[in-house]
């Protein structure tokens, strides 16, 4: 349903081919289309503005070589800039600390925390031979603890026994104890979903963080998120100082502009992407692919097929 940015820019620059350097006027017109494309891809407006300015600086005066059209030239500049903002080099999950390395999962309701907790545990177990313990601190959502327990059984990873009537902070303490005594390499803490303006629950998150001293705090966020991405990422980061982001539902056909918003708002790396409901649908983050997708020129199919 979206016309790709290169098609649109192609139209603007029709007849402009081979005219030397890009003038300020050419660039201005192109940037209106870039702005439009980014907003349609769900990049938060504040981030769009800053981004368009960066592209402007790079683009004015750039020589258009004879082998490409001015439109292609601008798309390339935009694409490179997207990759730069999204983070050029992958930042892997870090578990190198005195065991157990604790990983705290946070995010809005339904973003995919519990599923991703189990996927990461499975990956650490299978690929790095780690002994992992998972604990659900979600005392609110019906059957949330049972959900993690079932997933643990499916993937062959231990879960902290469920003790009804404990508070999330009490469970976090018990998990830390069990993590140490049980000789686990990694302790994964799943938490209840919360809206970032729920003062009480955000305070609870901060307290959980204080008692569990996590090595990684991962914000789990839906790739289909719209303009709110910047608000939620900023709030979670300010409150619990996240160490990275996991983008879920990348198997959807959303344009994924939220990735750019969250990265730009927090400066925190996108560490992993989740591409399905199954336990092995977890992949490393490739900024180039997300950039292609934001610009509507990506090969979404290959991602979906793997899901």
């Amino acid at each position: 349903m979206f016309e790709s940015l290169s098609d649109r820019l192609g139209k603007i620059f029709d007849g402009l081919r081979g005219r030397g350097a890009l003038s300020e006027n050419d660039v201005n017109e192109a940037l209106r289309e870039v702005r439009r494309a980014l907003i349609e891809a769900d990049v938060s407006l504040e981030v769009v503005r800053a981004f368009v300015e960066q592209v402007r600086e790079r683009a004015v005066g750039v020589e258009v070589t004879r082998s490409v059209t001015p439109g292609q030239q601008v798309v390339k500049i935009v694409h490179d800039e997207l990759v730069r903002v999204l983070g050029e080099t992958a930042v892997p999950l870090d578990t190198a600390t005195t065991p157990p390395a604790t990983i705290l999962m946070v995010g809005l309701q339904g973003s995919g925390k519990t599923t991703t907790t189990a996927k990461i545990a499975k990956r650490l177990k299978d690929k790095q031979n780690k002994k992992v313990l998972m604990a659900s601190l979600d005392t609110r959502r019906p059957a949330a603890m049972e959900q993690l327990r079932v997933l643990g059984t499916q993937i062959g990873v231990d879960t902290l026994p469920i003790v009804p009537s404990e508070t999330p902070v009490q469970i976090a303490r018990r998990a830390a104890r069990e993590g140490k005594l049980g000789g686990y390499d990694v302790l994964m803490l799943d938490t209840a979903g919360r809206t970032h303006i729920d003062e009480e629950l955000m305070a609870e998150t901060a307290e959980i963080k204080a008692v569990s001293d996590p090595h990684e705090v991962l914000l789990v966020a839906d790739a289909l998120t719209g303009q709110d991405a910047i608000n939620l990422a900023r709030s979670f980061d300010q409150r619990v100082d996240i160490t990275g982001i996991v983008l879920t539902r990348v198997d959807g056909d959303g344009r994924g502009g939220a990735a750019l918003s969250m990265r730009a708002a927090t400066g925190k790396p996108i560490k992993l992407i989740a591409t399905g409901e199954k336990m092995d649908a977890l992949e490393d983050f490739h900024p180039g692919r997300i950039a292609d997708r934001i610009l509507g020129m990506g090969d979404i199919v290959s991602l979906v097929e793997k899901a």
Partner: protein
């Protein structure tokens, strides 16, 4: 209130302006874009304001009012309640939507509402796929006093739906609400499974399902348009419920959806509790998008 607080900042800066000039219109455009209305819908609304009101004297309060009026115009036709036709016994409601959008929770809230209206309700645990989805619905059933039809995890979802309609009919229930597993609309085989559930339900009652409700997460951006389009085509969606409006997302994509599809919007979800379901009110929703005081 919280969503209006957030944008009030944007509007306050135009408060002192005397005319609805180009700068004011630009700021209004930003307000709409940040509420997820998308480029086309935002441009159309701002264009209407430009045409009808450009350079007229206008106060800050009026700016909010005209914006809210304009958004309200798109939403008023779709603000329609869910009517339970008592000619059908049971009145079968099928709940569909992408993963994590709030289907199961909304079913719990609806069960409570129908029970309060004096109707007998039965629930069907049609999500046989996700870990502990059955247990989750069973807890909602206990909370609201509704019996839950379930089969072991991994069972065929359409078989479960068949059993549930048969049982609800035999027991003379007023309403049967069928939960389904979350699925992304671009997964063709999962959408086919949904079509199969509907075919099988019709073997028991050719007029069912009597309502197919699609839950949309208010945090979702432009992809919600695709969700409505594909779930509409494949599952015959009859109405929408927008969830998670208690966060900071304003769900403005609903305006674009209303303009494009005209599907009724029945309810909004404003929390995780059993009572956190409200009828959809076009004017309130529009006012929240425009940052207008109630």
């Amino acid at each position: 209130k919280r969503s209006s607080d957030q944008i009030t900042g944007g509007i306050t800066s135009v408060f002192t302006k005397r005319k609805l000039d180009a700068a004011t219109l630009d700021e209004l455009e930003d307000v709409l874009l940040q509420a997820d209305l998308g480029m086309d819908t935002t441009s159309a609304i701002v264009e209407t304001l430009r045409r009808d009101r450009f350079n007229r004297d206008i106060s800050g309060e009026d700016v909010r009012a005209v914006l809210s009026d304009e958004v309200g115009k798109a939403l008023t036709p779709v603000a329609r309640p869910l009517v339970i036709d008592t000619a059908h016994k049971p009145f079968v409601i099928l709940m569909v939507g992408v993963n994590g959008s709030g289907k199961t929770t909304t079913i719990g809230k609806l069960a409570q509402k129908f029970a309060a209206e004096g109707r007998t309700v039965m629930l069907a645990a049609g999500d046989t796929f996700r870990a502990a989805a059955i247990e989750q619905l069973e807890i909602w059933g206990r909370r609201t006093g509704a019996p839950v039809v379930a089969k072991p995890a991994g069972s065929d979802a359409s078989g479960l739906a068949f059993d549930a309609v048969t049982r609800a009919r035999a027991e003379g229930k007023d309403v049967l609400i069928i939960d389904t597993a979350g699925r992304l609309q671009n997964r063709d085989e999962l959408m086919s499974e949904l079509e199969k559930i509907i075919r099988v339900i019709r073997k028991v009652d050719p007029t069912a399902p009597h309502a197919v409700l699609l839950t949309l997460d208010a945090t979702t951006g432009q992809n919600a348009l695709n969700q409505v389009e594909i779930f509409g085509k494949r599952a015959g969606v009859t109405g929408l419920v927008m969830t998670k409006l208690d966060g900071t997302a304003r769900g403005g994509i609903l305006v674009a959806i209303a303009r494009r599809f005209g599907l009724p919007v029945h309810f909004i979800g404003v929390g995780e509790g059993v009572d956190d379901l409200q009828p959809f009110q076009a004017s309130d929703f529009a006012a929240a998008i425009a940052g207008k005081e109630q």
